[in-house]
Symmetry: C2
Subunit: 347 residues, 2 copies
């Protein structure tokens, strides 16, 4: 409670006050394996309490060669919808009493590379890549992978969430399956004419979702031509623009499949502006099920992705090192049908 005479109390202070050596104090307070005689431990703990001692984790990191916190690399602090991936990881970390250092790559591959370098300086236990959305084309380029590999070679752990194909432990959130499952259910509802608001052309996440969607449809004999795929930004404004483009093309469309809820919301806004009746004239579906959109109208059909579980899985991957090559944990979301895609009458 009371603080040392000066500022911070050090381990030496505690040891002195408890009448033991630095080593014993260290072991009693932080050292995990070694045992300390109970009464001594008590004395140390008491002394620490009285001095208001808290370990200097920087010094700890120096001595141990690596810190204990986790660095979370996101592509951007999106003001619209803060990455659900980040939320998932933050939650899981909270449960583990883990510190998380968040840093943004500002949607720039070069910046991402620089950021990883400064992350290397921190020497965190692990770097978690929270991709998943607003991924710029080629964001995970060679330079970045190199830098991350460097970090890994130095003893750090790297886990990618929702970005398959990287040479690191990966938590796959089932983007392809999400698209496929959604397509299947929409087909069951009677939909046949789709336009896809596909997000950035080179973004892996977007690509997988679209691919799954089209494949599942193809299996049912429904082709979604390339001319029905409109690329756009990953966010609300992207959807807004793409919906406008869709209107312009006048292709027969009964349902707009948006690569993400954010895109879907933008599209809805645009369609409304055009005076369209939703979902009467046009149905809309997205992917993500972001909670903040619970109250949009019409209520949005979407695929709930397991972000909380993904965060958990990522942290577990970090906690259980395994050097037998990159592991991949596969999760899967589930479709949530709502008002924006009502069942169509039998054809």
């Amino acid at each position: 409670m009371a603080q040392g005479s000066n500022g911070r109390a050090t381990l030496a202070d505690v040891a002195r006050r408890a009448g033991v050596s630095h080593a014993t104090a260290s072991r009693a307070l932080n050292g995990s394996t070694r045992n300390v005689r109970p009464d001594l431990r008590q004395r140390v703990l008491a002394a620490a309490g009285e001095l208001g001692y808290v370990v200097n984790s920087a010094a700890q990191a120096v001595a141990r060669g690596r810190g204990e916190h986790i660095a979370l690399l996101v592509n951007g602090i999106n003001d619209d919808y803060f990455s659900p991936v980040a939320s998932g990881v933050l939650h899981a970390a909270e449960a583990d009493d883990r510190m998380v250092t968040m840093i943004s790559s500002r949607n720039s591959p070069e910046q991402a590379t620089r950021v990883v370098a400064s992350l290397r300086a921190q020497r965190p236990r692990a770097i978690i890549l929270a991709g998943g959305r607003s991924v710029t084309a080629g964001a995970w380029d060679a330079r970045l992978v190199d830098e991350l590999t460097l970090y890994q070679n130095e003893g750090g752990r790297v886990v990618a969430i929702s970005e398959e194909g990287l040479p690191f432990d990966t938590v796959a959130v089932g983007n392809r399956a999400a698209g496929a499952d959604l397509a299947a259910q929409l087909a069951d509802l009677g939909y046949r004419d789709f336009t896809v608001l596909a997000g950035p052309a080179q973004a892996r996440t977007a690509h997988d979702r679209v691919a799954g969607f089209r494949e599942a449809l193809a299996e049912r004999g429904i082709e979604v031509g390339e001319d029905r795929v409109i690329h756009c930004g990953f966010d609300r404004d992207g959807g807004y623009a793409a919906a406008g483009e869709c209107l312009r093309r006048r292709a027969p469309t009964r349902l707009l499949f948006a690569i993400s809820d954010a895109v879907a919301v933008g599209a809805i806004a645009r369609l409304r502006e055009a005076g369209m009746d939703l979902p009467g004239e046009m149905a809309v579906a997205g992917i993500d099920d972001v909670p903040a959109l619970r109250d949009v109208s019409p209520a949005l059909t979407t695929v709930r992705l397991p972000w909380p579980e993904a965060g958990r899985a990522a942290l577990d991957l970090v906690a259980e090192p395994d050097d037998t090559g990159p592991r991949v944990v596969r999760l899967r979301g589930h479709v949530v049908l709502r008002e924006s895609t009502p069942a169509l009458g039998r054809l």
Copy 2:
């Protein structure tokens, strides 16, 4: 580019390769004040590059006595609307190339106290308190303030955002003014009968907003009785419940003033459920102007709070130490009138 033979390259490695001393290498790479002969500096920089050297910031923190990063303490990772305060700070930090460590107090005062303790362990340059929303009653209790004061005595800086009255540097975001400005404009539009969805009874932020609102109205001869104030949670569900309560009371109300946009959205959802015409039968206004709600309908009248500026101001406060007592930077938002509060016909 190439890494040292083993793992991490150390300052000693760089010095050796450049043929200079540790000290010189350190000064060339990090030390700010001292000067180094240009050609030597070049040699060092080159060596560092070739070795892929990155400073060990933990060691740096130990040597310097304090780290360079900033800790951001939020009340909770709200899945609905990630605290705009946090976004503001993150943005500003990004611009400064500063690392930010985010940690949540899980809306619990006890947890907050523990969290500050573990923050003390990290020895960050500063701790920024991102209050502002979902503040539990008495979240900033004495124990917490004590712990923060301890941290400050150890040489750390503390800045509170949107939580006035704390013995630390503060960025005031103008909660009272927000309520007042909004009330004034609504009165100008012709509104007279209000019910207030007031948020948690003891939350300072909520209290200030409501107080400003009622005062400005009182100045214009409009009284909002205590029976027109309904307390509720700070979030969407709080608004949902409070709107239900409002309906039950059947008090004549033409406009629902929600303490926050989140509450407003919840209220709108509840009113819709009750089959009400918005804004024809009931107008709704909030405070915050969260971007994610840009597309709710009817478009929400609200007060845009200067979160980005607040983040900037907080970081500036951190950057310019000043021990002449707590400073306070006062910012102010501005009202944004939208569809949810149409002008009423002359009375």
